[in-house]
Symmetry: C2
Subunit: 108 residues, 2 copies
Amino acid sequence: MLKGHLDAIVLAALEAGPAHGYAIIEAIKTRSSSTFDLPEGTVYPALHRLEQAGLLASTWTTPAGGRRRRIYSLTKAGVAALADRRKAWGRFSHAVDMLLGGGRAWPA
Amino acid sequence: MLKGHLDAIVLAALEAGPAHGYAIIEAIKTRSSSTFDLPEGTVYPALHRLEQAGLLASTWTTPAGGRRRRIYSLTKAGVAALADRRKAWGRFSHAVDMLLGGGRAWPA
DNA sequence: CTTCCATACCTAGTTATACTAGGTATATGC
DNA sequence: GCATATACCTAGTATAACTAGGTATGGAAG
């Protein structure tokens, strides 16, 4: 369960350049060493949501002798949102690390 | 949004010893440097859920001249679950770090 | 040559979870 | 005596992730 962090992951996947949905899924799987093998039903709606929110833009392409693809790229707002999400992830994961790392006794 | 990780946080808060709900909320706030200032409506239902699942046990106490408190403690299953959740968090956060840390170009 | 798999997209509906917004009650400080 | 902090609770809401389907093409295997 990625709840709340999927957007950041998808945005980050597009940081290196535009890509289509299926490639994004593969990239997330590869770059997470298969920790995240996301079903399409998770990623496609997320892409639509992010486009709706103005963080992504898309165009249809049909490569020579290929299937139609929808290419997504980060908008300016998307780049900014990614930076925000990264900071939020840093704060979040640091806080959880503190809480889980613990094992200290209760403060008096 | 803590989705999916709240259980681990609550279980970890009880690792150092039994405590009541309100104290757990305070401890989470303190030990996360106020990153997590969880509303009661989040924590109490979570405690009930975890008790229902057999990961926590509770007893009522009334300290001298005090309000009634429900003291929660980890069960054996709760200790085991915490260990699992910790591992899951490690895998999860490491994977997200890889994905967000990136910025590399697409592999050919 | 056809059958299967990988590619590539989609959505309606379910589920689970965190949160909102209330409510109750006691002890303490001003 | 009134506000604040302590201490508990629950019904309802929002929404995100996932399940489980559906469509269609290209290439490989048989």
